[in-house]
Assembly symmetry: C2
């Protein structure tokens, strides 16, 4: 039951319906159990479709990374069932292992969706869980989209309640909140009761995954993949009556108090069904964390406008949001994954290639001598007056000239979102070489048209190379 | 490389070989990779055997709890492989799901082993992982025992480094450290290189499981079961070359700094191969957390000495260590699992039955009117002068008399360990009704004789009812 109360700052909350801490898990469970596709605003459904298109493209695009080869080799011997596809590949695994691998695959290029308020990558834990399940039991397209949106909504709301403290401590928030999303979405498809959904959330809460120390290794993409596995496990156990606490999210020795010093419960339960965090999802034009996007954006714009070549450049001065150096301060990355955490590499590669896609974050790209030479000329400075979507970039040329670009809203940010057309170009580029163009197009159509499909499994089927 | 240095309190460490934080994961990995059965002291091997006997008994004894029925029903549909047995049952699952279920089963009665310094239940995450793997690939008995001891050693050392802060915050330390134990033991059986072992520890670190809020529900035993699954997953991925950080335990945004305010690195790397935490493992005479054992011990002694019946009793006064009320202060438990967290129930049931085994912590026992009536007469007081192994119990009788018992070292504590004979009685009692007496005896012998067995899988085979 929702209880109107005082906000934690002592002011009556603006969004009226706040809940006491004792009701958080219950309120959330009740909402998930009752939420219907029919009641979801058209704009939210549309954003859910865009999330799906972007996620499928990222998963197919990542499916032949070394990390996926290794994960499949490791797990296949223990997975005799072959219920579900690995997108972009020919192997099949049991649904939980397939969900894991597809989750890893969709995040390994760091090209998946981002909820900017929390830096959660929402789809990477939710979509693979329900897609694999759709191959095991028929799930109608609308049911699938509804579950996807509810999963994204659940994890982003929970993330909002503990961000930034939780992230600052060292948690990879995508992996810690992802299990909630997967459990909520799977629980919806399993038609859990409110009591079962509370247990599913409790069991999901019990399995946070990932620390920021993983950044730069395959362990980073392991985190959302494992969160998908964890959330599925939580939901199927709860469905069978396996119990948990009814109050795992808010209890004093439960999830939020143990993993964060901040707990803003209203962020979880305020405006459920009225306000949608899932509407705030964004999609990347560049294959790395969003903190780097303004700098890359500026570098590519300057390169193209002035026809810059590496040998023209004396020095690249960047004024960046402080998190850029905290997260991407690696000066000498050793692998492509490591390169995603180097503002030096990202900007150098973007100047040389005019792009920052998977190719620019490959192992060979970070070992390319011309990139290594140029990254030594990248000079970033943390500036607290610069917002996360902004950058100020000044390039000093060898001939004495200086060129300058300030970015206010990087491409792909909430204020400058990728258009549907840009999403399609990104999708087709990612599928290139893995699927035929005809297959890629068919897969893209299957995603856009999921609401009219009697079976969400068509997406998985269309994503397997022939 | 081990670096001799100053201890954190500014004194040179007594055990000479301390390590810098930058070397913790590496030192530990190196030790695990090199440790040989031949070099393990006889007393450590013997304690490993006792750990095994106690664990197998607990797993068989718990195998028909409601929670296990539900877990098997939930997971079997997604586990087409049937490589490994569920102890005490006829179903078979793939090795990771079997490890999970056996881990849950071995902890669900709260009758498994305890490392008293950390309250970790060490075997529940380690033994099920390597036993299931032994059914998939042949593992000699000595290799199995070596891996079991190394797993226990690894998780207890890591637990020591962060206890008590980590536990005080709300983490269920058995689930958070258990994945390290399972990963170390599985990694040993997979013959990982030092680099792979660092990754395995990193991936295991990335998957802490469980909060104290789970206590009283099936979620509590989920935690070590899932830790077994997590550690296995970590080891097989690392074996296939799936990378992690090399320094996940000690890095500033890695495991220990994120999940605890205390990090005592010497506890992890000091005296490796010389001092064994695995030697400090203990086994319970009562089917609940060790904090309750002194009170139960005293209650049963007074009952037996004075022939007490419930109707004789006016009031049961207990002076207990403060953690007793913090952990087991539930006054009106609703289920058997909940009853394990009620000093009121435990003492009342022990007085009435003269025992505190699985039967006294069943759902029916907590609903028994005579127990409910007597638990209202239990009056515990927290007393900081009382040690965890102690209790002071005074029972006021209706006829005006008072009887008194002070316990200094509860049965089963480090100073008063269960004898091998008592372990056998406990084992056979747990197997009763699940295996025939002949089968139970054969299983017990298989455990005691594992060092001479060419295949550890004989234990799993002997634990399946015919």
């Amino acid at each position: 039951m929702a209880v109107t109360g005082m906000a934690s700052d002592g002011q009556r909350s603006a969004d009226s319906a706040t809940t006491l801490p004792s009701e958080v898990t219950r309120e959330l469970a009740k909402y998930i159990v009752r939420a219907r596709y029919e009641d979801m605003p058209a704009a939210v459904r549309r954003e859910g479709l865009r999330t799906l298109v972007n996620w499928v493209g990222a998963a197919v695009g990542g499916s032949h990374h070394d990390g996926i080869d290794r994960a499949v080799a490791a797990l296949a011997p223990f997975s005799a069932a072959s219920h579900a596809a690995i997108l972009g590949r020919s192997e099949r695994l049991d649904i939980m292992n397939a969900a894991f691998v597809n989750g890893v695959s969709s995040h390994i290029l760091d090209f998946d969706d981002t909820h900017l308020k929390t830096i959660i990558h929402p789809a990477a834990s939710v979509a693979p869980a329900i897609l694999a399940f759709s191959e095991y039991r028929n799930v109608a397209g609308r049911e699938f989209l509804n579950a996807l949106i509810l999963g994204v909504e659940t994890e982003c709301r929970i993330g909002n309640a503990v961000y930034p403290d939780h992230y600052d401590r060292g948690w990879h928030i995508t992996g810690t909140c992802g299990a909630f999303g997967a459990a909520a979405a799977m629980g919806k498809l399993l038609d859990l009761s409110e009591q079962q959904m509370r247990w599913a959330l409790g069991l999901a809460a019990s399995q946070p995954v990932g620390f920021r120390e993983s950044f730069g290794s395959m362990n980073k993409s392991f985190n959302p993949g494992r969160a998908a596995h964890n959330g599925m496990t939580a939901a199927v156990l709860a469905h069978a009556g396996f119990t948990s606490s009814d109050r795992m999210i808010e209890a004093s020795r439960g999830w939020a108090h143990t993993i964060s010093d901040k707990q803003d419960w209203r962020k979880i339960t305020g405006g459920l069904g009225a306000h949608y965090e899932a509407l705030l999802n964004t999609y990347k034009p560049f294959a790395c964390g969003v903190v780097l996007h303004p700098a890359i954006d500026a570098a590519i714009q300057l390169r193209n406008r002035h026809g810059l070549r590496a040998e023209d450049i004396e020095r690249i001065e960047l004024r960046v949001h402080p998190l850029v150096l905290e997260l991407t301060g690696k000066t000498a990355p050793a692998t492509g994954l490591d390169g995603k955490f180097s503002v030096y590499h990202a900007v150098a590669a973007a100047i040389i290639d005019g792009a920052a896609g998977p190719k620019q974050f490959s192992d060979s790209a970070v070992r390319e001598p011309s990139v290594i030479a140029l990254r030594a000329k990248v000079a970033p400075t943390a500036d607290p007056s610069i917002e996360p979507e902004q950058v100020d970039c000044r390039i000093v040329l060898r001939d004495g000239r200086t060129v300058h670009q300030r970015i206010e809203d990087a491409t792909g940010s909430a204020a400058s979102p990728l258009t549907d057309e840009a999403l399609e170009v990104k999708f087709l580029g990612l599928a290139e070489g893995i699927l035929t163009s005809q297959q890629a197009r068919r897969l893209l159509d299957a995603c856009w048209n999921i609401e009219r499909s009697p079976s969400a499994a068509t997406i998985a089927e269309a994503a397997v190379p022939r």
